[in-house]
Amino acid sequence: MSHYLFILVGAVLVNNVVLVKILGLCPFMGVSKKLETAYGMGAATTFVLTMATGASYIIDHYLLMPFGLEYLRTLSFIVTIAAIVQLTEMVIAKTSPTLQQTLGIYLPLITTNCAVLGVPLLNIANGYNFVESLLFGAGSAVGFSLVLILFAGIRERIEGADVPVYFRGVAIAMITAGLMALAFMGFAGLDKYQ
């Protein structure tokens, strides 16, 4: 049981997909200007990432491995992810057109979000079973959403700050992201505790 907990905590905090693995920075910088958008993006990515890890595990284990077609992993994963993203976009377009508009290009770009492809591949590299894969996927997604939302909260506040001209916008956001990563280093070693 604690094994699963460690996977989950590890994925959310210790090996946070954005701040420690430095994956998925594109939406992290792109859709963190407003808290509202960050909630939407977090939810969308969580859904896609969890679905993608589950689907890719099934594809890998029941379609590719039996036939020795592991070399098709990246290709088939991307196709699956693209389909899931497309589906998500349709649902969002139906339920919240404003969110769709504000997420803009970043919504379809979840397809090429390296976190979404990276997590299923890491699952395979770590040799996780189905439940572990799902946990790792969900944990990574929650970790992504968490830092995205916290980052958006900070950015909304920085927007009113008197930042020196040359550091306004993305520059100060990058610095903030760096300091966030520094803070997350505090979790280092938590998953190794016996």
Partner: protein
Amino acid sequence: MLMNLFKFKGGVKPPTNKTQSLGLSIAQAPLPSKLVVPLHQSIGGTPRPVVQAGDKVLKGQLIGEADGWISAAVHAPTSGTVLEVAMHVQPHPSGLDAMCVVIEPDGKDEWIARQPVDYQALTPEQVREGLQQAGVVGLGGAVFPTHGKLTASKTVPMDELVINGAECEPFITCDDLLMRERAEEVVRGIGVFRDLLQPKKVLIGIEDNKPEAAAAMRAAVDALGEPFLVVQVPTLYPAGGAKQLIRVLTGKEVPASKRSTDLGVQCFNVATAYTAWRAIAHGEPVVSRLVTVTGNVGEPRNYEVLIGTPMGELLQLAQPQPDTDGIVMGGPMMGFLVPDAKVPVVKATNCLIAHSERLFPPKAPEMPCIRCGACAQACPHELQPFEMYWFSRAKNFGKTQEYHIFDCIECGCCSFVCPSRIPLVQYFRFAKSEIWARERDKNAAEGAKARFEFKQLRDEREKAEKAEKLAKAAAAQAAKKAAEAAAAAAAEASPTAPDSAAAATQVQASAATVEATATPAVDAEKEAKKAAIAAAMARAKAQREAVQPKNTEQLSAVQQREQAEIEARRQAAHLTDPAQAEPAAPASEKTD
């Protein structure tokens, strides 16, 4: 006290500085050289001037009549001659001008015929109207027309009537002295309000640093045998804010989004009750008020001042010190420096403070906010001023509204405690007026859009009607062709060919006019329609004629004069021919 008092959160205790102006009794300020009476002295519509330059007026004579229900009349403060009705600088932080009636006193101070009324013989509506005619407005500073607050909510029973004698702002003592010296009339005025609102309880709240006023009020209440409760409330700024006093006395909290009557409570200032009583029992409209003149002066004192008295002249009575460099209207927490010493005393002027750097040292420069939260602890409305400041500063007005900026009463507690010396209230006023301006723009845009869409609809309808007409014409043409063909066939078939040909020509001739139709049935229908249209037009014309004279009847003398002038100008320019001036049909349907 026997009563259970409530507390409001926050509040501050600035030095009260009240004793200076309490030493002397109320004095009558002498007639000034000139009275400048602004027409717009209350919340709501700007009263319309009913006098013009050269008119002789008597004290208490109507000079501006209320425009709409939320508006209060304005009266001549003394007898004299109207010099002009013109724009003059206002006691307003903008320093802008507004319409004023300027009166030169004749020195006789002669009243118009005053008619005391027995209000108990009148209906509540008549009493309210009388108060509006007398120009009675809230004298605590908000100048909301009093009659507008004297209607109880239809759904919520009126539990408490709160009378505000707290006077929490430092330096101001006019209500204190009013209660000390004229308690009886104040209590009688409260009685009027009570009779109109029918509350279960009447609570008179007075800060506990005014024991004499409270004693005087108690004595007056006892003498008149009224069941009013005089309650001493703890001295804590802004306990005299209507919402705070209501909270302290009743425990009810009135948010910005609600009226106090919705919670079964209403609040009036003691001075308002006094003027209401003077208006009803003596027939005296509001032409003067008590003003505390204090600050950097030799003899701080309360004066009974005519509305319209230039502030500079009033200040001279109290012998300002030579280093006086400005006049603050209102208290030191919420007042403002008037733009010019010429500005007149208005109904909202409760206090003039001679400003000097000795009295109010210049502020240290503004530092950044350190989010220490002192403002949030001081805020009597439990807002987060530092957050509102952060977003006001960044001009992110949507966010300021999320932090309830419109619940801010601008009491100044936050600015008072701020260690960074940030003029927080200024930021909030800025944000509020920007939001209001945006709201105005948005409403204007919505109206414009609606009218544009209506115009488009109209254009389309006109186009459609035209198209229909054309289509009908085309149909007629086709029918005609068919008839021709039929005629031709008939001509070929029958020996009376020339007759048929003649008939065909006839058809052709009638088809030449657009109105022509092929068959008699359609023709009849068309005729009926035409008749209906003609009838409608006749009706419309009759209506227009019936209406038009009425309009000109209602024109005021001024308007009629203006119209005549315009007409004359236009004739001079040969732009219109009076002979042709028949009422033409409106060019568009918008006047419908």
